[in-house]
Symmetry: C2
């Protein structure tokens, strides 16, 4: 089927996802839309992020803002990893400053019944309208996304953000059959959501398994990999690059790649060259500046960014990004200069 808007096939971002040479290193930032931008605060309005996501005009504008301001090489849909479970009525809200909160957490097999199929046109028409708006308007590719089954499951089970994922691991290890069924349900939701985003004009997808780094490699392989593989393999036929991301996943990189990624997200704990060596030539990489460094100001950012770019040593298949989302107190001017630095890399000889 044809999707709205230009293909952007020759864009820096998509070429880098395919490990093709580019005129400059592409760059975008996780959570580039949002909390750190004054223009975001101006249009965001009161109420939950869920309300802003459900308003295609606002969501479109919020997605465009960082592209305009920073000149980044990709846009990422303004949405949330819990949008599908919210839309099918599981009872999830997103509290400002906290994150997803679940009124009645997932506890037993009966709760599987609360996870019906997602019908994108009926349940999330606003997402599709936002994606179509953006596909028509953007001069860079739009990244669609979904939460990976483990990370979404952790919110549904814990009832909110968690420091140690105790309840999640208890269910995973204590009732592996129920855990597998839950993850399989969440995989189906992710597949349906990602497919609908791509069919509406997203040119790449990112699977966020943000908290997978809390697991041992053995837990990941046995209890998480199957459902994430299901998602990434199902969307392979959509013919868009698949980015797979988590925080603190140094020991999981090869497993997460094997799940079916084209691009592996790397957080700052692993030096980029070490990550590329560990992953081998199969994968492009995305990352990996510590978002906290942005708070330290331009000189610190300049040094750390140069280190990352030097470690990549001009190899094709590097998309510059932070190792996790932009922190709320980040100075947009620092990020603006960072985009300039990445695009101008390597620095030319200084006129003397």
């Amino acid at each position: 089927m044809t999707t709205p808007g230009p293909s952007h096939d020759d864009s820096r971002f998509l070429r880098a996802c395919r490990q093709e040479p580019t005129d400059a290193t592409p760059v975008w930032f996780m959570r580039q839309a949002g909390r750190s931008l004054p223009e975001y605060k101006a249009v965001r309005g009161e109420g939950s992020i869920v309300d802003a996501i459900a308003d295609p005009d606002r969501a479109t504008e919020i997605t465009l803002q960082p592209v305009r301001r920073y000149g980044v090489d990709a846009a990422i849909l303004y949405s949330d990893i819990v949008t599908p479970v919210h839309a099918i009525g599981f009872g999830v809200t997103v509290e400002p400053g906290i994150g997803p909160v679940v009124a009645t957490p997932f506890r037993s097999r009966d709760d599987l019944g609360r996870l019906r199929d997602l019908e994108p046109e009926a349940d999330t028409p606003y997402v599709l309208e936002t994606v179509r708006n953006l596909a028509a308007e953007l001069e860079v590719p739009l990244i669609g996304f979904a939460g990976a089954p483990f990370t979404v499951a952790s919110y549904l089970i814990e009832g909110g953000p968690s420091k140690n994922h105790g309840r999640t691991k208890s269910l995973m290890l204590g009732d592996p059959a129920l855990w597998a069924d839950l993850c399989d349900r969440l995989a189906d939701l992710a597949i349906t959501s990602l497919t609908s985003q791509v069919e509406s004009g997203a040119r790449a997808i990112q699977l966020f398994d943000s908290w997978a780094g809390s697991l041992t490699p053995a837990m990941y392989e046995r209890h998480v990999l199957p459902a994430s593989t299901k998602v990434l393999e199902a969307v392979a036929s959509l013919d868009v690059p698949r980015i797979h991301f988590g925080v603190g996943t140094g020991e999981l990189l090869t497993l997460m790649g094997a799940a079916g990624a084209d691009v592996m997200g790397v957080d700052w704990r692993v030096p980029l060259d070490v990550a590329r060596d560990r992953l081998g030539p199969t994968y492009a990489v995305q990352g990996n500046l510590d978002p906290a460094v942005v708070l330290a100001g331009w000189e610190a950012v300049e040094g750390e960014a140069a280190d990352i770019l030097t470690r990549n040593a001009g190899r094709p298949g590097h998309i510059f990004n932070l190792g996790h989302g932009v922190l709320p107190d980040s100075d947009p001017e620092v990020l603006e200069r960072l985009v300039e630095l990445v695009h101008a890399w390597p620095p030319g000889p200084t006129a003397s």
Copy 2:
């Protein structure tokens, strides 16, 4: 000088620290004293943990409780990593359910003046009395401990626990000279505190750099390693094993070892055999069961513990522990059975 109590030199725990063969794998648990034990709740009393630490009778009893109940192979002093900075009047309290909280966080060079030398006999006589009590009473070695400069600095700068250590990294990268001076001060405090604990009867020490895993290896090497090396090298002459521990430090293990450890703490994210390979034969290892697995009940614990012991494959120099502290909701009976399992490993042939 002579220290109180028996040397315990031939104990399982100290032999394993020195990588000597043992009749069984020694085991203890970080935070084995405290929140998860009913007998702890019975004697702990109201008020801050700081008050309980300052009462040698209570602190002695709390330290002994898990040794009695679990039959672990080492005791760890009931204290806190902020005890020295609290004792010299920096203005640190420990809030229940939160952790260390600092009324007036460290912000500038002037604040260095708030970090005077520690005089153990005058500032923390209760710690020394507790250690002497324990050295006389315990049938297993007592582990003394201190917070590593980075982790203590992060509390002083952030004012409390932090998700991303933004202010800490800002100071580290934005004013490296002040950062180095702060860490050097905190190193001196740790050295004085550890030395006084060992002279009072502690038979091993653990340096807790719990949050070092939030750093890139380059940040660790440049901004953290020097002060931690100063601590570990200064206490080398005390002739007790030095354990060095952090969470999420898979990429830092060799650096943290090189700081001067005899035993490297390993969290659950790195399989124990991978950690041993990464570290080489120089170091004993301590770990590495995910504390959240304890919440999943005995069957899960049994499987994960067997996996860890199997990965160690009988090599000397393994001290079984959790990868981080015992979680408050842990069932003491599960930990009791875990100690039995570790001591009985490898399992004999089943009678049939």
